[in-house]
Protein backbone atom coordinates (compact mmCIF):
# COMPACT_ATOMS: atom_id res chain seq x y z
CA UNK A 1 0.00 0.00 0.00
CA UNK A 2 1.15 3.56 -0.65
CA UNK A 3 1.18 5.61 2.52
CA UNK A 4 1.42 9.35 2.88
CA UNK A 5 1.93 11.47 5.97
CA UNK A 6 -0.16 14.61 6.37
CA UNK A 7 -0.49 17.17 9.17
CA UNK A 8 -3.10 16.44 11.82
CA UNK A 9 -4.32 20.03 11.57
CA UNK A 10 -6.13 19.04 8.36
CA UNK A 11 -8.55 16.96 10.43
CA UNK A 12 -11.28 17.95 12.83
CA UNK A 13 -10.97 17.13 16.53
CA UNK A 14 -13.79 14.62 16.11
CA UNK A 15 -11.96 12.89 13.25
CA UNK A 16 -8.76 12.77 15.29
CA UNK A 17 -10.67 11.41 18.28
CA UNK A 18 -12.29 8.69 16.21
CA UNK A 19 -8.97 7.67 14.67
CA UNK A 20 -7.19 7.70 18.04
CA UNK A 21 -9.89 5.52 19.61
CA UNK A 22 -9.72 3.06 16.72
CA UNK A 23 -5.95 2.71 17.20
CA UNK A 24 -6.46 1.87 20.88
CA UNK A 25 -9.26 -0.69 20.77
CA UNK A 26 -6.85 -3.49 21.68
CA UNK A 27 -4.32 -1.47 23.64
CA UNK A 28 -2.66 -2.71 26.82
CA UNK A 29 -4.26 0.08 28.78
CA UNK A 30 -7.68 1.12 27.46
CA UNK A 31 -7.69 4.90 27.15
CA UNK A 32 -10.41 6.05 24.76
CA UNK A 33 -11.08 9.78 24.60
CA UNK A 34 -14.02 11.99 23.77
CA UNK A 35 -13.58 14.99 21.49
CA UNK A 36 -13.88 17.28 24.51
CA UNK A 37 -11.12 15.43 26.32
CA UNK A 38 -8.87 15.51 23.28
CA UNK A 39 -9.41 19.26 22.95
CA UNK A 40 -8.38 19.68 26.58
CA UNK A 41 -5.42 17.43 25.98
CA UNK A 42 -4.26 19.53 23.03
CA UNK A 43 -4.63 22.70 25.08
CA UNK A 44 -3.10 21.50 28.33
CA UNK A 45 -0.12 19.76 26.83
CA UNK A 46 0.73 22.24 24.05
CA UNK A 47 0.06 19.77 21.28
CA UNK A 48 0.88 21.39 17.94
CA UNK A 49 -1.50 19.80 15.44
CA UNK A 50 0.30 21.37 12.49
CA UNK A 51 3.40 19.37 13.49
CA UNK A 52 1.44 16.27 14.47
CA UNK A 53 1.07 13.58 11.83
CA UNK A 54 -1.56 11.36 10.31
CA UNK A 55 -0.69 8.35 8.16
CA UNK A 56 -3.14 7.54 5.42
CA UNK A 57 -3.42 5.58 2.26
CA UNK A 58 -3.63 7.33 -1.09
CA UNK A 59 -7.40 6.74 -1.13
CA UNK A 60 -7.70 8.74 2.08
CA UNK A 61 -8.14 5.82 4.50
CA UNK A 62 -6.44 6.85 7.74
CA UNK A 63 -4.09 4.32 9.35
CA UNK A 64 -2.53 5.96 12.37
CA UNK A 65 -1.57 9.13 14.12
CA UNK A 66 1.02 10.69 16.36
CA UNK A 67 0.95 14.01 18.17
CA UNK A 68 3.75 16.40 19.02
CA UNK A 69 3.73 18.67 22.04
CA UNK A 70 5.98 21.69 21.62
CA UNK A 71 7.63 23.88 24.26
CA UNK A 72 10.74 26.02 24.01
CA UNK A 73 13.64 23.67 23.32
CA UNK A 74 11.60 20.50 23.87
CA UNK A 75 9.20 18.28 22.05
CA UNK A 76 6.91 15.51 23.36
CA UNK A 77 5.66 12.63 21.29
CA UNK A 78 2.27 11.37 22.41
CA UNK A 79 -0.84 9.44 21.30
CA UNK A 80 1.13 7.41 18.75
CA UNK A 81 -1.10 4.65 17.46
CA UNK A 82 -1.71 2.53 14.38
CA UNK A 83 -4.91 0.69 13.49
CA UNK A 84 -4.70 -2.95 14.60
CA UNK A 85 -5.03 -4.39 11.09
CA UNK A 86 -2.23 -2.30 9.61
CA UNK A 87 0.52 -2.79 12.17
CA UNK A 88 3.92 -4.28 11.24
CA UNK A 89 3.95 -2.45 7.92
CA UNK A 90 6.21 0.39 9.05
CA UNK A 91 3.41 2.90 9.67
CA UNK A 92 4.56 3.59 13.25
CA UNK A 93 8.12 4.13 12.07
CA UNK A 94 6.94 6.57 9.39
CA UNK A 95 4.96 8.51 11.97
CA UNK A 96 7.98 8.63 14.28
CA UNK A 97 10.20 9.87 11.46
CA UNK A 98 7.67 12.61 10.81
CA UNK A 99 7.71 13.58 14.50
CA UNK A 100 11.52 13.71 14.61
CA UNK A 101 11.75 15.72 11.42
CA UNK A 102 9.11 18.21 12.52
CA UNK A 103 10.71 18.62 15.93
CA UNK A 104 14.18 19.12 14.52
CA UNK A 105 12.89 21.60 11.94
CA UNK A 106 11.43 23.57 14.84
CA UNK A 107 14.85 23.64 16.50
CA UNK A 108 13.96 21.36 19.38
CA UNK A 109 16.99 20.19 21.40
CA UNK A 110 15.40 17.11 22.89
CA UNK A 111 12.32 15.02 22.38
CA UNK A 112 10.75 13.03 25.15
CA UNK A 113 7.96 10.50 25.35
CA UNK A 114 6.48 7.93 27.66
CA UNK A 115 5.73 4.34 26.80
CA UNK A 116 3.71 1.92 28.86
CA UNK A 117 5.83 -0.78 30.41
CA UNK A 118 5.48 -4.08 28.54
CA UNK A 119 4.53 -2.39 25.28
CA UNK A 120 7.54 -4.02 23.65
CA UNK A 121 6.77 -3.11 20.01
CA UNK A 122 6.53 0.59 20.83
CA UNK A 123 9.53 0.49 23.17
CA UNK A 124 11.66 -1.18 20.50
CA UNK A 125 10.52 1.31 17.90
CA UNK A 126 11.59 4.20 20.13
CA UNK A 127 14.94 2.57 20.87
CA UNK A 128 15.48 2.13 17.15
CA UNK A 129 14.87 5.86 16.66
CA UNK A 130 17.59 6.85 19.12
CA UNK A 131 15.56 7.25 22.32
CA UNK A 132 17.01 6.14 25.66
CA UNK A 133 15.34 5.44 28.99
CA UNK A 134 15.54 8.22 31.57
CA UNK A 135 13.04 7.18 34.23
CA UNK A 136 10.06 5.12 35.25
CA UNK A 137 6.77 6.39 36.60
CA UNK A 138 3.69 4.97 38.28
CA UNK A 139 0.06 5.65 37.49
CA UNK A 140 -2.08 5.06 40.58
CA UNK A 141 -5.73 5.31 41.58
CA UNK A 142 -7.53 5.90 44.82
CA UNK A 143 -11.23 5.32 45.25
CA UNK A 144 -13.21 7.81 47.33
CA UNK A 145 -13.35 6.72 50.95
CA UNK A 146 -13.19 8.27 54.36
CA UNK A 147 -9.74 8.48 55.90
CA UNK A 148 -9.43 6.78 59.25
CA UNK A 149 -6.72 8.94 60.82
CA UNK A 150 -7.02 12.51 62.02
CA UNK A 151 -4.90 14.77 59.82
CA UNK A 152 -2.29 16.88 61.53
CA UNK A 153 -0.43 20.05 60.74
CA UNK A 154 -1.28 23.59 59.90
CA UNK A 155 -2.73 23.81 56.42
CA UNK A 156 -2.67 26.82 54.14
CA UNK A 157 -4.79 26.59 51.00
CA UNK A 158 -2.93 27.81 47.94
CA UNK A 159 -4.56 29.87 45.24
CA UNK A 160 -4.06 28.74 41.67
CA UNK A 161 -1.31 31.32 41.27
CA UNK A 162 0.43 30.26 44.49
CA UNK A 163 0.17 26.60 43.49
CA UNK A 164 1.67 27.33 40.09
CA UNK A 165 4.45 29.36 41.68
CA UNK A 166 5.30 26.45 43.99
CA UNK A 167 5.37 24.10 41.04
CA UNK A 168 7.52 26.46 38.98
CA UNK A 169 10.15 26.36 41.72
CA UNK A 170 9.93 22.58 42.18
CA UNK A 171 13.52 21.29 42.16
CA UNK A 172 12.89 17.80 40.78
CA UNK A 173 12.04 16.47 37.35
CA UNK A 174 8.38 15.93 36.49
CA UNK A 175 6.99 14.52 33.26
CA UNK A 176 5.39 16.68 30.59
CA UNK A 177 1.82 16.30 31.83
CA UNK A 178 2.59 17.44 35.38
CA UNK A 179 5.06 20.17 34.42
CA UNK A 180 4.51 23.81 35.27
CA UNK A 181 3.62 24.58 31.64
CA UNK A 182 0.89 21.93 31.58
CA UNK A 183 -0.58 22.99 34.87
CA UNK A 184 -0.49 26.67 33.91
CA UNK A 185 -2.61 25.78 30.86
CA UNK A 186 -5.24 24.18 33.08
CA UNK A 187 -7.97 26.21 34.81
CA UNK A 188 -8.46 23.88 37.77
CA UNK A 189 -5.13 23.89 39.63
CA UNK A 190 -5.21 23.99 43.41
CA UNK A 191 -2.77 23.31 46.21
CA UNK A 192 -2.08 23.31 49.90
CA UNK A 193 0.96 23.91 52.05
CA UNK A 194 1.54 22.15 55.36
CA UNK A 195 3.57 22.94 58.46
CA UNK A 196 3.93 20.09 60.94
CA UNK A 197 4.53 20.55 64.69
CA UNK A 198 7.94 18.85 64.36
CA UNK A 199 9.12 21.32 61.75
CA UNK A 200 8.30 19.24 58.70
CA UNK A 201 6.83 21.23 55.85
CA UNK A 202 5.90 20.83 52.23
CA UNK A 203 3.18 21.30 49.66
CA UNK A 204 0.94 19.47 47.25
CA UNK A 205 -0.33 20.78 43.92
CA UNK A 206 -3.10 19.03 42.00
CA UNK A 207 -6.01 19.50 39.64
CA UNK A 208 -9.62 19.27 40.76
CA UNK A 209 -11.75 18.39 37.72
CA UNK A 210 -15.44 18.80 37.44
CA UNK A 211 -17.34 16.08 35.58
CA UNK A 212 -21.02 16.97 35.33
CA UNK A 213 -21.84 17.59 39.00
CA UNK A 214 -18.97 15.59 40.46
CA UNK A 215 -15.27 16.09 41.02
CA UNK A 216 -12.08 14.13 40.86
CA UNK A 217 -8.46 14.89 41.65
CA UNK A 218 -5.50 14.35 39.36
CA UNK A 219 -1.97 15.48 38.42
CA UNK A 220 -0.67 15.36 41.99
CA UNK A 221 2.81 16.71 42.70
CA UNK A 222 4.11 16.51 46.28
CA UNK A 223 7.17 18.22 47.65
CA UNK A 224 8.78 18.01 51.09
CA UNK A 225 10.80 21.11 51.86
CA UNK A 226 11.78 20.04 55.38
CA UNK A 227 11.47 16.79 57.32
CA UNK A 228 10.61 13.19 56.47
CA UNK A 229 8.87 12.95 53.06
CA UNK A 230 6.90 9.90 54.19
CA UNK A 231 5.45 11.85 57.11
CA UNK A 232 4.95 15.15 55.29
CA UNK A 233 3.43 13.31 52.33
CA UNK A 234 1.12 11.33 54.58
CA UNK A 235 -0.19 14.44 56.28
CA UNK A 236 -0.63 16.27 52.98
CA UNK A 237 -2.63 13.37 51.55
CA UNK A 238 -4.62 12.93 54.76
CA UNK A 239 -5.61 16.57 54.65
CA UNK A 240 -6.35 16.42 50.93
CA UNK A 241 -8.64 13.41 51.25
CA UNK A 242 -10.29 14.62 54.45
CA UNK A 243 -11.24 17.79 52.61
CA UNK A 244 -12.33 15.84 49.51
CA UNK A 245 -13.79 12.56 50.77
CA UNK A 246 -15.95 11.88 47.71
CA UNK A 247 -13.31 12.62 45.09
CA UNK A 248 -11.93 9.87 42.90
CA UNK A 249 -8.17 10.37 42.52
CA UNK A 250 -5.85 9.66 39.63
CA UNK A 251 -2.17 10.09 40.52
CA UNK A 252 -0.36 10.01 37.22
CA UNK A 253 3.39 9.82 36.75
CA UNK A 254 4.68 9.53 40.28
CA UNK A 255 8.34 8.57 40.06
CA UNK A 256 9.12 5.02 41.14
CA UNK A 257 11.74 6.47 43.54
CA UNK A 258 9.48 9.23 44.88
CA UNK A 259 10.07 9.39 48.65
CA UNK A 260 6.34 10.02 49.19
CA UNK A 261 5.35 6.65 47.72
CA UNK A 262 4.85 5.05 51.11
CA UNK A 263 2.32 7.75 51.96
CA UNK A 264 0.36 6.99 48.80
CA UNK A 265 0.25 3.34 49.83
CA UNK A 266 -1.00 4.18 53.32
CA UNK A 267 -3.84 6.27 51.89
CA UNK A 268 -5.11 3.40 49.72
CA UNK A 269 -3.60 4.23 46.35
CA UNK A 270 -2.94 1.25 44.13
CA UNK A 271 -0.91 0.88 40.97
CA UNK A 272 -2.70 0.82 37.64
CA UNK A 273 0.35 0.61 35.39
CA UNK A 274 3.90 1.92 34.85
CA UNK A 275 5.37 4.15 32.21
CA UNK A 276 8.93 4.41 30.97
CA UNK A 277 10.11 7.89 30.08
CA UNK A 278 12.49 8.12 27.14
CA UNK A 279 14.52 10.95 25.64
CA UNK A 280 16.22 11.62 22.36
CA UNK A 281 18.75 14.41 21.98
CA UNK A 282 18.75 16.33 18.73
CA UNK A 283 20.92 14.60 16.16
CA UNK A 284 21.03 11.31 18.05
CA UNK A 285 21.82 8.42 15.74
CA UNK A 286 19.09 6.12 14.61
CA UNK A 287 19.77 2.57 15.83
CA UNK A 288 19.01 -0.62 14.07
CA UNK A 289 16.80 -2.88 16.15
CA UNK A 290 18.22 -6.18 17.34
CA UNK A 291 16.91 -9.08 15.29
Amino acid sequence: MKIEIVPASRFSIQELTDLYNQTRVDYLVPMPMSADRLMEYVRDFNVDLSRSCIARESDGQTLGLSMLGMRPGRGWVTRLGVLPGTRRHGVGAMLMDCMLENAEQAGVGEIILEVIQDNAPAYNLFLSKGFEEIGSWLVMRRAPRLVSAEPQGEIEALTREQALEALRAYPHHVTWINAYESMSNAPDVEGMRIQLPNGGRGWIVYRSHKYTLRYSLSHLVLHTEEGDPAEVGLQLLLNLHTQNPRHDTYAENIHTDDPHLVAFGELGYFKNFSRIEMRRKAGAPVNFPAV
Binding site: N21, V29, P30, A143, P144, R214, D248, G268, N272
Partner: protein, 126 residues
Protein backbone atom coordinates in the same frame (compact mmCIF):
# COMPACT_ATOMS: atom_id res chain seq x y z
CA UNK B 1 -35.91 -11.46 34.10
CA UNK B 2 -33.66 -8.50 34.84
CA UNK B 3 -32.82 -5.04 33.55
CA UNK B 4 -29.12 -4.90 32.76
CA UNK B 5 -27.31 -1.69 31.84
CA UNK B 6 -24.09 -2.15 29.86
CA UNK B 7 -21.84 0.93 29.79
CA UNK B 8 -19.36 0.27 26.99
CA UNK B 9 -18.00 2.44 24.19
CA UNK B 10 -17.36 -0.34 21.66
CA UNK B 11 -20.56 -1.45 19.95
CA UNK B 12 -19.19 -4.87 18.96
CA UNK B 13 -18.63 -5.73 22.61
CA UNK B 14 -22.20 -4.75 23.45
CA UNK B 15 -23.57 -6.73 20.52
CA UNK B 16 -21.65 -9.82 21.62
CA UNK B 17 -23.06 -9.67 25.14
CA UNK B 18 -26.55 -8.79 23.96
CA UNK B 19 -26.65 -11.89 21.75
CA UNK B 20 -26.47 -14.09 24.82
CA UNK B 21 -28.40 -12.08 27.40
CA UNK B 22 -31.55 -11.35 25.42
CA UNK B 23 -32.42 -15.07 24.89
CA UNK B 24 -32.17 -15.52 28.65
CA UNK B 25 -34.99 -13.04 29.07
CA UNK B 26 -32.92 -10.08 30.23
CA UNK B 27 -33.50 -6.54 29.00
CA UNK B 28 -30.24 -4.94 27.92
CA UNK B 29 -29.75 -1.18 27.92
CA UNK B 30 -26.65 0.30 26.33
CA UNK B 31 -24.82 3.53 27.11
CA UNK B 32 -21.62 4.28 25.24
CA UNK B 33 -20.06 6.79 27.62
CA UNK B 34 -19.97 7.65 31.31
CA UNK B 35 -22.32 10.59 31.27
CA UNK B 36 -25.08 8.84 29.34
CA UNK B 37 -24.46 5.76 31.49
CA UNK B 38 -25.21 7.74 34.61
CA UNK B 39 -28.31 9.30 33.07
CA UNK B 40 -29.55 5.94 31.87
CA UNK B 41 -28.94 4.38 35.27
CA UNK B 42 -31.33 6.93 36.77
CA UNK B 43 -33.95 6.36 34.08
CA UNK B 44 -33.78 2.58 33.88
CA UNK B 45 -33.04 1.73 37.51
CA UNK B 46 -31.18 -1.42 36.43
CA UNK B 47 -30.93 -4.62 38.43
CA UNK B 48 -27.29 -4.95 37.43
CA UNK B 49 -24.66 -2.84 35.67
CA UNK B 50 -21.91 -4.11 33.37
CA UNK B 51 -19.14 -1.52 33.27
CA UNK B 52 -16.23 -1.08 30.91
CA UNK B 53 -13.30 0.74 32.58
CA UNK B 54 -12.06 2.45 29.43
CA UNK B 55 -14.71 5.02 28.57
CA UNK B 56 -14.09 8.08 26.44
CA UNK B 57 -15.40 10.88 28.66
CA UNK B 58 -14.63 9.68 32.20
CA UNK B 59 -13.21 6.27 32.98
CA UNK B 60 -15.12 3.42 34.58
CA UNK B 61 -13.52 3.87 37.99
CA UNK B 62 -14.70 7.45 38.17
CA UNK B 63 -18.13 6.49 36.90
CA UNK B 64 -18.42 3.76 39.52
CA UNK B 65 -17.88 6.37 42.24
CA UNK B 66 -20.73 8.43 40.78
CA UNK B 67 -22.98 5.39 40.68
CA UNK B 68 -22.05 4.30 44.18
CA UNK B 69 -22.59 7.84 45.41
CA UNK B 70 -26.26 7.84 44.43
CA UNK B 71 -28.58 6.37 47.09
CA UNK B 72 -30.86 4.96 44.40
CA UNK B 73 -27.98 3.08 42.79
CA UNK B 74 -25.59 2.32 45.62
CA UNK B 75 -26.71 -1.30 46.04
CA UNK B 76 -27.00 -2.18 42.34
CA UNK B 77 -24.38 -4.86 41.56
CA UNK B 78 -21.65 -3.59 39.24
CA UNK B 79 -19.54 -6.00 37.21
CA UNK B 80 -16.39 -4.72 35.51
CA UNK B 81 -15.69 -6.01 32.00
CA UNK B 82 -12.25 -4.81 31.06
CA UNK B 83 -9.14 -5.26 28.98
CA UNK B 84 -7.02 -4.28 31.98
CA UNK B 85 -4.79 -6.99 33.48
CA UNK B 86 -6.54 -9.18 36.06
CA UNK B 87 -4.55 -7.77 38.97
CA UNK B 88 -5.60 -4.21 38.16
CA UNK B 89 -9.20 -5.32 37.69
CA UNK B 90 -9.16 -7.11 41.05
CA UNK B 91 -7.68 -4.09 42.85
CA UNK B 92 -10.24 -1.85 41.19
CA UNK B 93 -13.16 -4.03 42.23
CA UNK B 94 -11.90 -4.19 45.82
CA UNK B 95 -11.03 -0.51 46.15
CA UNK B 96 -14.19 0.80 44.51
CA UNK B 97 -16.54 -1.62 46.25
CA UNK B 98 -17.75 -3.33 43.08
CA UNK B 99 -19.15 -6.82 42.74
CA UNK B 100 -17.06 -8.70 40.22
CA UNK B 101 -14.92 -8.52 37.12
CA UNK B 102 -14.11 -10.37 33.95
CA UNK B 103 -11.09 -9.65 31.80
CA UNK B 104 -11.60 -9.46 28.05
CA UNK B 105 -11.67 -11.72 26.20
CA UNK B 106 -13.91 -13.68 28.56
CA UNK B 107 -16.08 -16.72 28.01
CA UNK B 108 -19.75 -15.89 27.79
CA UNK B 109 -20.57 -18.68 30.25
CA UNK B 110 -18.43 -16.94 32.85
CA UNK B 111 -20.45 -13.78 32.41
CA UNK B 112 -23.78 -15.59 32.53
CA UNK B 113 -22.80 -17.43 35.71
CA UNK B 114 -21.64 -14.22 37.35
CA UNK B 115 -24.84 -12.40 36.40
CA UNK B 116 -27.00 -15.30 37.62
CA UNK B 117 -25.11 -15.37 40.91
CA UNK B 118 -25.45 -11.63 41.47
CA UNK B 119 -29.15 -11.67 40.59
CA UNK B 120 -30.02 -14.62 42.81
CA UNK B 121 -33.16 -13.78 44.87
CA UNK B 122 -31.38 -14.72 48.09
CA UNK B 123 -28.86 -11.98 47.47
CA UNK B 124 -31.58 -9.35 47.85
CA UNK B 125 -32.62 -10.79 51.20
CA UNK B 126 -29.16 -10.36 52.72
Amino acid sequence: MAKILYIEDIEDNMTFVKRFLIPRGHELFWARNAESGLEMAFQVKPDLILLDLGLPDADGQTLSTWLRGEPMLETVPIVVLTAWPAEVARHTVEAYGLDGYLCKPFKINELIQLIDKLLEPTRHED
